[in-house]
């Protein structure tokens, strides 16, 4: 191999790395959501996403860059999820078992939208009352389950569950209203 060939390979490799990094940053939040759907323990999901990242890097040569990156990355995520459950236990994953492909399709459909809606979500989060935000903090920052939160607050698990659900629905409604409001402004 001569010096020109080596330089060409190095340049190609650098291009490939840059392209991988760009693609990964774009799809990472959606992939994380997809992995969370299959492994509701956040710590497991984060470990699994690391494995997906490693596999994506390992197999990046196989990726056909003329096609969308997300479906290909989702396919790898599905293989890794299957490995995860095979390694850990053989139980069917509740609700994801049959719906995994439908959710993967949804992930591809709404990915662009979700990226745009993240700003709105941030705005809506700030509109919540302090108590609602603190409750979300217990769930997501302190990683407490509804039962633990209920014990901490001296209330019932059902009340915590319902309240958390309402806050999430409020956030989603707020994002949709803001999105349609902005669309109307644009019209």
């Amino acid at each position: 191999m001569n010096a020109t060939q080596i330089t060409t390979i190095q340049a190609e490799s650098a291009r490939s790395r840059a392209e991988l990094a760009r693609n990964w940053v774009k799809v990472q939040p959606s992939l994380m959501a997809f992995v969370v759907a299959s492994t509701p323990q956040f710590n497991d999901a984060e470990d699994l996403l690391q494995e997906v990242a490693a596999e994506v890097a390992l197999r990046y040569d196989e990726y056909d860059s003329s096609r969308p990156f997300l479906p290909w990355a989702l396919w790898i995520a599905k293989l890794k999820i299957a490995d995860f459950y095979r390694g850990k236990r053989r139980d069917r994953v509740m609700f994801m078992g049959e719906a995994i492909d439908a959710l993967a399709d949804a992930c591809s459909r709404v990915q662009q939208l979700m990226t745009e809606e993240r700003d709105l979500l941030e705005y809506c989060l700030d509109q919540l009352t302090e108590r609602s935000r603190r409750l979300l903090g217990l769930r997501y920052s302190d990683d407490m389950k509804p039962k633990q939160i209920a014990t901490e607050l001296g209330t019932s698990t059902g009340s915590v569950r319902v309240t958390l659900s309402r806050i999430r629905t409020t956030l989603m409604d707020c994002v949709q209203k803001r999105a349609s409001g902005e669309a109307n402004v644009g019209n």
């Binding site: 939040p29 299957a82 302090e130 935000r133 409750l135 607050l153 409001g181």
Partner: protein, 424 residues
């Protein structure tokens, strides 16, 4: 199964992602809701995305002024759940613009943190890529056999075998009393083994039966099964474990026995939305068989794995003139890609098959009478063929030439389907 509304479905997703176990009915209803409409699937994914986003958002601990205030008040007063009216967000256009301006300042700082984390992750990914993966991925190398010391290899193999078991099994182990008391004809209603959703259905017109002692139940002096029940030992004396009787198909006229799998018992990794046979997975199966004699010329007796549209057939096949043990794909009733072995169908055979489910056609490798104390080598296959895209819903035993089958096992590894005795 009753349909559910969006609120219930999203509540179920919340419960699931908050670490609660859904009942199987709730899970099925939710699956159905997601699959029934793409808008439902989108809503479900948005909800999951929200959980994932909130987790990442709160874990970054980007502290806004509002959160500093929250920390102060946390120290001052205990938290109580917000009331329903407190949860509502009132979108006031004027206030929101002003608030947005204020928020933008905070957002810049938050997004600076988030983007920083993104950059660090990307650099990590790039470093990983540069350090470890610059060598081109070589699939042949990746699947190259690892050579272990013989003693270590044997020990590992035996340890794996101890833990192994098929997820689908039928040993045709039915007591004489049960068979004599049974009122239905053929093997109708027999429901032994494991991994099945129901009993055998013997569709006739000829009926199959369970044979206990082939020596006493031969059908003529040329019957090659008169030497004894089906069994197998390899050249080193390792014996396949067997139980009870064996299946005998009808002769002259066709017998068709069908039994459906319980898809809930199939390992999750092997299933996808279309059923059992997810791409990228590997399945192993084994069974023993022996026919009345070696006759071919259109005679048939085979196991059929799949559904009515497409399946894999293994046995004595009409499309194999010589009548030797063969395998073929089946599409809409037609046998395709028939591969025939040199082993006569009058000889007892242990068939071990490995199916690699791939996008489109599946790769099927078969070994006849392999050694039991090691995983058979892909370079030593007796038959290899491409089968149509398989979704295995049932096993069907179809025959118009008297043939015995026994010890049907399906699993995810070789040791799952070859439970040999301990002295190998």
């Amino acid at each position: 199964m009753s349909e559910i509304k969006e609120n219930t479905a999203l509540g179920d997703i919340d419960a699931y992602l908050d670490g609660e176990e859904l009942t199987s009915e709730e899970a099925q209803r939710l699956e159905q809701w997601i699959k029934s409409d793409s808008q439902n699937a989108d809503q479900a994914f948005r909800r999951v995305f929200l959980h994932s986003y909130l987790r990442q958002r709160f874990q970054t601990r980007a502290i806004s002024e509002a959160q500093i205030q929250e920390m102060r008040s946390r120290q001052e007063e205990p938290l109580t759940l917000p009331t329903e009216s407190e949860i509502e967000i009132q979108l006031d256009p004027t206030q929101s613009v002003e608030k947005q301006k204020h928020t933008n300042r905070i957002l810049t700082w938050r997004w600076f943190l988030l983007v920083g984390i993104g950059i660090v992750s990307t650099i990590n990914l790039a470093v990983m890529f540069i350090r470890d993966f610059q060598i081109p991925y070589d699939e042949e190398k990746a699947f190259e056999a690892i050579i272990f010391e013989p003693a270590y290899a044997k020990k590992s193999f035996l340890m794996a075998r101890k833990a192994a078991q098929p997820f689908l099994y039928e040993g045709f182990d039915y007591s004489t009393e049960l068979l004599s008391e049974k009122e239905s004809e053929g093997i109708n209603g027999l429901e032994g083994g494991q991994g099945w959703s129901g009993p055998w259905v013997d569709e006739g017109p000829a009926y199959a039966s369970i044979i206990k002692d082939p020596k006493q139940q031969t059908t003529g002096k040329n019957d090659m099964r008169l030497f004894g029940p089906l069994g197998f030992s390899d050249q080193y004396g390792n014996m396949l474990l067997t139980k009870g009787g064996q299946f005998r198909s009808g002769s002259n006229t066709e017998s068709v026995a069908v039994r459906h799998l319980d898809l809930q018992q199939v390992p999750y990794a092997l299933s996808d939305t279309k059923g059992f046979g997810a791409d990228g997975e590997i399945l192993w199966l084994s069974f023993m068989a022996q026919s009345y004699d070696n006759a071919g010329e259109g005679r048939y007796a085979y196991l059929d794995f799949g559904n009515e549209e497409s399946s894999l057939r293994i046995g004595k096949l009409a499309s194999s003139d010589r009548g030797n043990w063969s395998a073929a794909g089946q599409v809409n009733g037609t046998e395709i890609n028939t591969a025939s072995s040199e082993v006569l169908s009058g000889q007892a055979v242990l068939v071990v098959a490995r199916i690699l489910f791939r996008p489109g056609a599946e790769e099927v490798d078969l070994w006849l009478n392999p050694l039991l104390n090691q995983i058979p080598d892909l370079d030593d296959v007796d038959l290899r063929l491409m089968a149509p895209d398989l979704r295995i819903e049932r096993v069907k035993i179809v025959s118009q030439y008297s043939t015995d089958f026994d010890e049907l096992r399906v699993g995810v590894s070789f040791v799952d389907v070859i439970p040999a005795s301990d002295h190998d």
